[in-house]
């Protein structure tokens, strides 16, 4: 947290943006978001983060499931010389929080019967929700680890974890209720989501996911850099738009 305070970015808030760039049409601030944001809050100083991050608790996983997800996602996106891996970035918290909501319940997807196994090009045709698939797959990750190495997944060495994950990726595990590769792909894509989504969702801690690839996050405008060569820009998150 002290690190975060030190590198407090020069906030280009919306209000400041409007002031600095005179982003207007015919002298009037244009309507829409810009117009609506003007009255929001006075220019208070950026509040310092509290030391405790209340987001770091579980909405769905059991502690055991959480540890498996933490261990597995860290193999997908490991800590290295470029910076933190999935574990440090909070990816397992991100996935936990996502499973607790719409995404975990597949609530905006068509889940009506009848269910038939289709062609690959017809896409997912299962009846299970993502949270059910995670429950089954995490149990099976442990089962498979036990049958190959006589250990739980979290207790395996790095390359052993990789070989278990690879068996899932390549459908070399026999599971009747879910597709092992389907689960692996979901785990991989949700890992990347946790690494690179806005920190408001619980991953991408400290915007370190963005920093590793020099992604500037949420900026108001690039009109002044679009014609220029690559330029590193200090990232900022959606929280910068809360007018505090």
């Amino acid at each position: 947290m002290t690190e975060e305070k030190k590198e407090k970015p020069d906030l280009l808030s919306r209000r400041k943006f409007i002031r600095n760039t005179g982003y207007t049409v015919g002298g009037l601030a244009v309507g829409g978001v810009l117009g609506s944001i003007l009255p929001l809050g006075t220019a208070k100083k950026h509040k310092e983060e509290t030391a405790q991050n209340f987001n770091r608790a579980l909405m769905y996983f059991t502690p055991e499931q959480f540890r498996i997800v933490e261990a597995a996602t860290e193999r997908i996106y490991p800590k290295d010389e470029h910076g933190p891996g999935a574990k440090e970035l909070g990816v397992a918290f991100f996935i936990d929080h996502q499973l607790a909501g719409d995404w975990g319940f597949n609530s905006r997807e068509y889940m009506q019967a009848p269910f038939f196994k289709g062609e690959k090009v017809q896409g997912f045709q299962g009846r299970l929700k993502r949270r059910d698939i995670f429950d089954i797959a995490l149990r099976e990750l442990n089962n498979h680890s036990q049958s190959v190495y006589k250990k739980d997944f979290v207790d395996l060495k790095g390359d052993e974890k990789d070989s278990i994950l690879k068996d899932f990726e390549e459908d070399k595990v026999n599971i009747t209720t879910i597709s092992p590769s389907g689960f692996f792909n979901m785990l991989r894509s949700s890992t990347l989501e946790g690494v690179y989504s806005d920190p408001l969702y619980g991953g991408n801690k400290n915007m370190d996911g963005w920093k590793m690839r020099n992604y500037p996050g949420s900026q108001m405008a690039y009109a002044s850099v679009i014609e220029k060569d690559f330029k590193k820009i200090k990232p900022q998150s959606l929280q910068n738009h809360m007018g505090k």
Binding site: E109, Y110, L192, E193, D198, A221, A223
Partner: protein, 571 residues
């Protein structure tokens, strides 16, 4: 029994680009118009927190809720169609403004060749050039006839661009100058010119400068924030129906929008339609809205689904080739591209705009000789800089592991060092590509879903690889250290995003036995029913469709006014 409301002049089913344009044009002339929109209200203020890739691009915040309604799909008639349970190949818009809110804004005109594709192909290459299964047709309108309406749409939206050196003749220049040019676009331009091609700036609805349109609507310039496609515009700089045509219609005092109003049936009596039946989804109440004129202005799929469910028009039968509703469903061939990896260069690709790009049409339409090629038409080849957002853009050179230490290393190395040149391949119609009602799967009301029967053909496979090779030539000339390009198209796969450019099903034409609507998009069989949108396309071209959809909507508005005055078939 449905509650019956007083009759209005015109009822619109859906309020996106086509509904908005028609509402604006008719209400200006004093007609009373009701727009039924099944989604919610949308406005620029909604996009305060829009720079959120997860919410909008991965969780589809602006898209239709598939739990209530989706489509079913099969590659051919021997396969059981299954529902598209999750998004993939295309994204269905929802709410006021429809897909016009989440689009990129790439706003083209089709080529003169497109509208007379059947005649021109035979004229130049002979009858045998068209495979027996390809149901190629002229559109019943020429480019020159449609040109004034293109011009009108471009002026309403404020399209920023420069003349396409290989395009149709223009009556006027674009209303605003082209967008800014980024270094990668300059590389593309230089490479294309070196290859003797004809690059030009992509026509853009993102607005290069502040602009006041002929309706008096003023909008401000694009800020290149990099969040366009799948997002709404926080500045109102991207032209969408909510910031252009809808306010014009509302200002007239003659337009009423009813959101949360889901139309379930078109009502008819004899050879006239009499109105629509819809459900107020906030109360569940069934309501009948009688109207002198009914205009279908929803997305392709729902235009056709409502016609079929209401027993309006002659359903297409792929066995006999007879009937027209559901005929000539077409899509696009989007996978012909080449990805260039640059070892020692970085670009500001995090910045961009939905229609920031540059392209050439040397391999589009019939701008090149097809006599020794096994396909017709072609595609535009472009480099776009639409904002390289980090969740969805992690390309690594082919052969790199897709996860783990090496994946992380390579994806970070190339995070700002990849440029893609991509083709937007056209899609020809085939007798066995069509839309009908699914016999099994239902929506939330218990009504049948629309069923897509579609796959890629030899025409598409040839076209995709041809275009991919042309893309690779450009990427090579741009100096990429490593190039990955498409080698084989494979079957149509509904799970990976390609384009929301679905077309056909209520196609236009001069012959009622082979088309559903005339060149004012008036139904041949029902004088007071107009079906507007890309559903009218007899095939799909190698461009984004919205420019042509907008032009056809203006044309349809004129047709509706003609019908309102005189009655009968106006085309």
């Amino acid at each position: 029994m449905a509650r019956k409301l007083p009759k209005v002049d015109v009822v619109l089913v859906g309020v996106g680009w086509t509904g908005g344009i028609i509402a604006a044009e008719l209400t200006k002339k004093g007609l009373k118009v009701v727009g039924l929109e099944r989604g919610k209200e949308r406005k620029t203020e909604d996009y305060y927190m829009v720079h959120d890739e997860l919410r909008y691009a991965l969780r589809y915040d602006l898209m239709q809720d598939l739990s209530k309604e989706t489509i079913t799909f099969r590659g051919n008639e021997n396969i059981r169609a299954l529902p598209m349970r999750q998004y993939g190949s295309f994204l269905l818009g929802d709410g006021l403004g429809g897909s016009g809110v989440h689009w990129n804004g790439q706003t083209y005109r089709f080529l003169p060749y497109d509208f007379e594709i059947h005649s021109k192909t035979i004229e130049k290459y002979g009858k045998n050039k068209i495979p027996a299964e390809m149901s190629l047709q002229d559109w019943g309108i020429t480019y020159d006839e449609l040109e004034p309406y293109y011009d009108q749409f471009e002026k309403t939206a404020g399209i920023s661009g420069e003349e396409n050196p290989l395009g149709g003749k223009r009556s006027d220049k674009y209303p605003t100058p082209p967008m800014k040019m980024s270094p990668p676009m300059k590389m593309f331009e230089k490479a294309a010119k070196k290859l003797n091609l004809h690059p030009y700036m992509m026509p853009s609805a993102n607005l290069s400068e502040s602009y006041k349109n002929p309706d008096g609507i003023q909008r401000s310039a694009c800020q290149y924030c990099g969040y366009c496609e799948r997002f709404g515009c926080e500045y109102g700089a991207k032209a969408d129906p909510v910031v252009t045509v809808i306010p014009v219609a509302l200002k007239s005092g003659n337009f009423e929008i009813r959101t949360h109003s889901n139309v379930r049936r078109i009502l008819k009596q004899g050879n006239k339609v009499t109105g629509v039946m819809y459900v107020d989804t906030t109360t569940g109440e069934e309501i009948e809205q009688p109207a002198d004129i009914v205009v279908m202005t929803s997305y392709v799929f729902n235009n056709i689904r409502l016609l079929l469910m209401s027993d309006v028009g002659r359903p297409y039968d792929p066995k006999t080739g007879k009937g027209v509703i559901g005929k000539n469903y077409a899509y696009q061939v989007m996978k012909g591209n080449a990805v260039g990896f640059f070892k020692d260069k970085e670009f500001n690709t995090f910045a961009g705009a939905g229609s920031l790009g540059i392209l050439f049409d040397d391999y589009n339409g019939d701008n090149f000789d097809h006599s020794k090629l096994n396909f017709i038409h072609g595609g535009g080849i472009s480099l776009t800089q639409t904002g390289y957002r980090p969740i969805q853009n992690n390309p690594v050179p082919k052969g790199t592991p897709m996860w783990g230490k090496e994946f992380k290393k390579q994806s970070l190395k190339y995070a700002n060092s990849v440029l893609t040149v991509a083709a937007q391949g056209s899609s020809m119609p085939f007798k066995h590509h069509f839309l009908d009602l699914d016999p099994t799967y239902k929506d939330a009301f218990g009504d049948p879903l629309i069923r897509i029967t579609f796959d890629f053909e030899e025409q598409d496979r040839q076209l995709a690889v041809f275009l991919a090779n042309k893309c690779a030539d450009v990427v090579k000339e741009m100096g990429a250290d490593h190039i990955d390009s498409l080698k084989e198209l494979g079957p149509y796969d509904i799970t990976t995003y390609q384009s929301t450019h679905n077309t056909g099903g209520v196609i236009m034409g001069s012959d009622p036995s082979t088309s559903a609507v005339n060149n004012y998009l008036q139904m041949h069989d029902y004088d007071n029913l107009f079906v507007v949108g890309a559903s009218a396309f007899a095939h799909n071209s190698g461009y984004n469709p919205t420019g042509t959809v907008g032009a056809l909507a203006y044309r349809a508005a004129e047709g509706i006014l003609k019908y309102h005055d005189k009655g009968g078939q106006v085309g």
